[in-house]
Symmetry: C2
């Protein structure tokens, strides 16, 4: 078989996350869901993705418990796709990718969509990796314990 490799039984949480999301389309669907998209057509127009691909991705996201299919909020007979709590927990992942992109792939002054605090309209603070006692950690300040039972 030449099936795409799965990581769902990896001992590494990063690998399992990656596996659960599925592919980049899925991640962009989740991004759009955070931005307020709910309907099939909204995702399709926003992403420009082929409909068969979108169908497949929405199904795996629902199957994986990231999205959930609910009756449309406007009373129509259609359905909507909304984030589950598990899906909402991806928020820091999206924010981290967004901040990395802003800092590395836009010229100074180049326009881009921006995530802001709804109350005050200000940009968010940069994510920080902190130790249990609140020190800011760089990659070199951390290490991986190969296996842990908790």
């Amino acid at each position: 078989m030449v099936t795409r490799t799965r990581f769902d039984d990896s001992e590494c949480p990063v690998a399992r996350s990656v596996d659960a999301i599925g592919d980049w389309w899925s991640l962009l669907i989740v991004r759009d869901a955070f931005d307020g998209s709910r309907r099939f057509g909204e995702f399709q127009r926003s992403l420009g993705v082929a409909k068969n691909i979108l169908t497949a991705r929405l199904r795996t996201l629902v199957a994986g418990g990231v999205l959930e299919s609910v009756p449309a909020s406007d009373g129509s007979a259609y359905r909507e796709y909304v984030l589950t709590p598990k899906g909402k927990a991806l928020f820091p992942v999206i924010v981290a990718l967004r901040q990395w992109g802003e800092q590395n792939f836009f010229a100074p002054g180049e326009p881009h969509s921006q995530l802001v605090d709804r109350r005050q309209g200000h940009r968010l603070r940069a994510l920080e990796v902190l130790s249990a006692d609140g020190r800011q950690l760089n990659p070199d300040d951390t290490t991986v314990h190969k296996i842990s039972t908790s």
Copy 2:
């Protein structure tokens, strides 16, 4: 053409990030790099990826400025792949994915690799999305400004 869709000219930083990384393998390569892998063979054994795929991914990561190819640190004639500053800036992304995986894809007590603070050996604090003035933000507390010139 049926080429895989690119997002490198998207106005959304998340899309550009996703495009720059390339695919899941690339992200796991970066994860391994954070964990100390440097040599072709280390990545290959750790990931179990086919060598032609690894070759291609390493090349695009180097081309994208995430990794850099340097002479081997042990004095041999081989080369090593190390994270650039841009690559190290992916740290919060990896940590976010790791925490999401830990919380959602492992049974309580199920063993998994764990990222700890090198000084004290403790687990890290969960990432928090904060407003400019330090309030903790949930997805619903934020909104996307479609375009901004800064």
